[in-house]
């Protein structure tokens, strides 16, 4: 039997402590929505036997705060989740316990006391891999040019659909040809109220260049979020 009861024997903290969990969400996990991820994590946290703090009240529950959203169909190496613990347990032990309860596609990369606020996040760095039979220097150049010019897309907002130019939200985008794939290394706005859904870049390119609109088995793309950055666009957010 597991030692999930151990948490009751640990020394109480004076006040609940917020711990940040950095994890990856890759492979099959890219298809899991934010809501499903929350539910999944609440169970992982319980299985791991962490000394979680529960809200007081009629229906006690744990507090989980996730960093910025990740659209379904995008992968990430820098997802973050804040949880509160009420007893002393080392970050190393927490990480070890968590990693015993997840598949590799959801592996925990770091656990540490949260210091910065999620509101400090301003940018995120992405790697796009676009596989298409049409990949050549000319297409790479066309994509690169497209990303430099005004780039209007239909965005769904609370007040219906709206044409928006997303170009100002692209801080940088480097396009390279790599065999049968086009790679884009992009830094996109990710601040609160100014968040660019990385999927929109694909939507825009599909409309402007015609890529990724034929047989799904012949063309595919992958989006991987690498890092989240502070307002200077360089320093990594932890």
């Amino acid at each position: 039997m597991k030692d999930n009861e151990k948490r009751f024997t640990l020394p109480m903290l004076e006040a609940p402590r917020t711990m940040r969990i950095r994890f990856q969400k890759t492979g099959n996990l890219q298809y899991i929505s934010h809501l499903d991820l929350q539910r999944t994590f609440s169970r992982i946290l319980v299985r791991a036997g962490l000394p979680l703090w529960y809200t007081k009240g009629f229906n006690p529950h744990i507090k989980m705060v996730f960093g910025m959203p990740l659209p379904v169909g995008s992968e990430s190496e820098c997802e973050m989740l804040d949880v509160r613990i009420e007893r002393e347990m080392s970050a190393e032990e927490m990480m070890e316990r968590l990693n015993a309860e997840v598949t590799d596609e959801l592996r925990v990369l770091a656990v540490y006391p949260a210091e910065r606020k999620f509101a400090e996040v301003a940018f995120a760095e992405y790697d796009y891999t676009i596989r298409t039979e049409r990949a050549d220097e000319a297409l790479a150049e066309k994509i690169s040019d497209t990303l430099q010019a005004p780039l209007t897309v239909l965005r769904r907002t609370k007040s219906g659909e709206k044409e928006t130019d997303i170009q100002p939200m692209i801080r940088s985008a480097a396009v390279t040809l790599d065999g049968d794939a086009i790679r884009i290394h992009a830094v996109l706005s990710a601040g609160e109220g100014n968040y660019l859904n990385p999927e929109l870049l694909i939507t825009a390119l599909r409309a402007k260049t015609g890529i990724l609109s034929s047989d799904l088995t012949k063309e595919s793309y992958r989006i991987l979020r690498r890092r989240v950055l502070l307002a200077d666009g360089v320093t990594e957010f932890h």
Binding site: F8, G27, N28, Y31, I32, R43, R47
Partner: protein, 624 residues
């Protein structure tokens, strides 16, 4: 995973249904196992992952190092469209390999309306629908579950059926398959014959001939070989404490319909309601001990992280050890913020103490099933609860802070009169009245009583198996009559679709002549008939007409007491004589005591069983 499948995941609804990779999923090396079993659930992933039977059986098969059992679900219609476009055959969830490459393909048949989905899945797997058209190398297609107790409407499509409880049976079946392959004497026919001859509960329809009278009733069911049983006796797990029970769960990422720990407390039911098939076919009652249940619950909690435990059984308050069980569970569940829930409550045993222990206190609603509106009709169906019980239960609920009560009833029960239907409206109003009579009711809120009425369906292996279902016109009239009688504004009324219930009755009591209709339905693309948005009654009528099947013959006809019934080939343990006695008592509005009070001689005790309340159980006869 198959790259074709992953290539379409970005373009379908809820890709989490298909992506797999769940924590706890069983991955084995396909080159190191001797048999691959595809366990198919004929509905969506979310529904299949809520099914306790599937979890148990997949787990039991995977306990065997030689066997790899994978799950198969029915892709939703948008995915089916992509599969046609890109020529993707039905695949197994864990490996992504085509189902047609497996050794054995099992379907769980929980509900008649899933039959068309089963056939649609066979087509998606690119397997011949009919068993007699399958090639030597095609998977053996086996069916099981509650509907397999009358397997005849599906007889042409299945190589065989597993009748009864599958934990040991499916393992034994697969092991015979492995053994015959290893010994080099496997042939499809040879294997099916040997399984039918040597393994209890295995029914191979092609080894039995059915002949008919001119009026369409059955004249004889004859076995083709002397070494197979005349009637196929269901298999049971004698000692539930020794039955396989999963200690780890596959954790779905997307929300399943029932997303919690399901703890099966006991099997069977002591009650014997005369319309209820489950209460008959799962006899004899066999309990698990509270110590074991507590250990299993703790283990499942540690391994799943679910914070709700549902105590599963047909009538939880009948469990003799409920008090010690909930006491030992509460010793650790409270501290761990785990709540208990009870899905099945009987009004006569619902009390304050029980309510305080269960989690459903957190919701504002409780559900009870009086089933009929008057005491006379409740006696006819042997429900054995009275109005006083219901009022008491409602009062307890209201005192505990509930405002909503849901009441289940049935229309079209044998001997039903307008008085019985009116009784439903009266009973609901009395529950409303009870609310205002409860001094400690929730302050400042008004009650809501929901009356949900389904249509009676005569089911095989019940005392009402011979009864005629009301015609659609009668059912519609009764539903309208009840609507007029419900005048209380605090009572909400909903009723089931009588059209679905009629098709369900046809399939439930059908014989092999139904196979033709189902084949036509499959070829026309029927699927997901259990979903309202896909059920089309007119299309069903057209299919029946073309297959020369008169739906009234199966649904609305009173079957003769001496008639050979399509399901007479199956022996569910309970005897026909008992059903006949119960039917007579029903017409005399006489009740039968429950199994614990007195043995009524249903016959199921000859199957054995440990920790069964039956005073006449013959233990130890059927072991090994």
């Amino acid at each position: 995973m198959n790259t074709k499948i992953s290539s379409v995941l970005k373009s379908v609804e809820k890709p989490g249904r298909y992506c797999g990779g769940e924590y706890g999923a069983i991955i084995k090396n396909k080159d190191e196992v001797k048999a691959r079993f595809a366990f198919a659930f004929p509905d969506t992933y979310e529904i299949g992952m809520s099914n306790l039977g599937m979890r148990i059986l997949c787990g039991a098969l995977n306990e065997q190092p030689d066997i790899w059992c994978e799950r198969v679900f029915c892709p939703w219609v948008d995915m089916q469209q992509k599969m046609r476009e890109l020529d993707i055959p039905l695949w197994a969830h864990e490996s992504g390999d085509p189902v047609s490459e497996f050794d054995i393909l099992g379907f769980t048949l929980g509900y008649e309306m899933c039959y068309t989905t089963v056939l649609a899945m066979l087509k998606m797997a690119k397997l011949p629908l009919r068993a007699d058209e399958r090639a030597e190398d095609d998977p053996i297609v086996i069916g099981g579950g509650a509907c397999a107790y009358n397997p005849e409407p599906m007889a042409d499509f299945f190589d065989c059926f597993s009748i009864g409880e599958g934990e040991d049976n499916l393992v034994e079946f697969t092991k015979l398959y492995i053994r015959m392959k290893e010994e080099g004497r496997y042939t499809r026919q040879g294997f099916l014959h040997e399984a039918a001859a040597t393994i209890r509960g295995i029914y191979v329809p092609s080894l039995y001939d059915v002949s008919y009278n001119e009026d369409g009733t059955i004249s004889a069911i004859a076995r083709r070989f002397e070494d197979i049983p005349e009637r196929v006796e269901k298999c049971i797990i004698a000692d539930m404490d020794k039955a396989y029970y999963p200690d780890k769960l596959v954790m779905p990422y997307i929300e399943a319909v029932h997303d919690r720990i399901m703890l099966e407390v006991y099997r069977g039911c002591i009650r014997g309601c005369r319309f209820c098939q489950a209460g008959m076919i799962y006899r004899p009652v066999r309990e698990k001990t509270p110590d074991l249940l507590n250990k299993q619950a703790r283990c499942l909690y540690d391994n799943s992280g679910y914070e709700e435990i549902s105590l599963m059984s047909l009538s939880i308050s009948d469990y003799t050890e409920l008090e010690p069980l909930t006491r030992s569970l509460l010793e650790w569940t409270d501290r761990n913020m785990v709540s208990l829930s009870l899905p099945s409550l009987r009004v006569d045993s619902f009390n304050k103490e029980l309510m305080e222990r269960i989690a459903s206190v957190r919701t504002s609603s409780l559900t009870f099933a009086p089933e009929a509106g008057t005491q006379r009709l409740r006696d006819v169906i042997n429900k054995n609860v009275c109005e006083e019980d219901l009022m008491h239960a409602a009062r307890v609920a209201f005192e505990g802070g509930k405002t909503n009560v849901k009441l289940y009833f049935m229309n079209g029960l044998p001997t039903e009169t307008s008085e019985d239907i009116e009784g439903i409206a009266t009973l609901a109003s009395r529950v409303v009245h009870e609310y205002y009579q409860t001094p400690n009711r929730p302050k400042g809120r008004s009650p809501q009583v929901t009356v949900s009425v389904s249509c009676f369906i005569p089911k095989p292996f019940t005392p009402f198996q011979w009864e005629a279902q009301d015609t659609m016109e009668m059912l519609a009239e009764k539903q309208e009559f009840l609507r007029e009688k419900i005048t209380d504004r605090k009572v909400r009324y909903q009723h089931h679709n009588a059209k679905v219930s009629r098709v369900e009755a046809v399939l439930a009591r059908g014989n092999r002549k139904l196979c033709k209709a189902l084949e036509i339905a499959a070829n026309e693309g029927f699927c997901f008939d259990a979903w309202d948005e896909f059920f089309d009654y007119d299309k069903w009528l057209s299919v029946f007409a073309r297959a020369d099947v008169d739906p009234a013959f199966f649904a609305n006809r009173q079957f003769g007491l001496d008639e050979i019934l399509p399901w007479d080939i199956i022996d569910c343990g309970v005897t026909k004589e008992f059903f006949k006695r119960e039917r007579e008592k029903a017409y005399a509005a006489a009740t039968t005591p429950n199994c614990r009070e007195q043995c009524s001689g249903c016959g199921a005790n000859r199957l054995g069983g440990e920790r069964t309340p039956c005073p006449k159980a013959c233990r130890g006869q059927h072991e090994g």
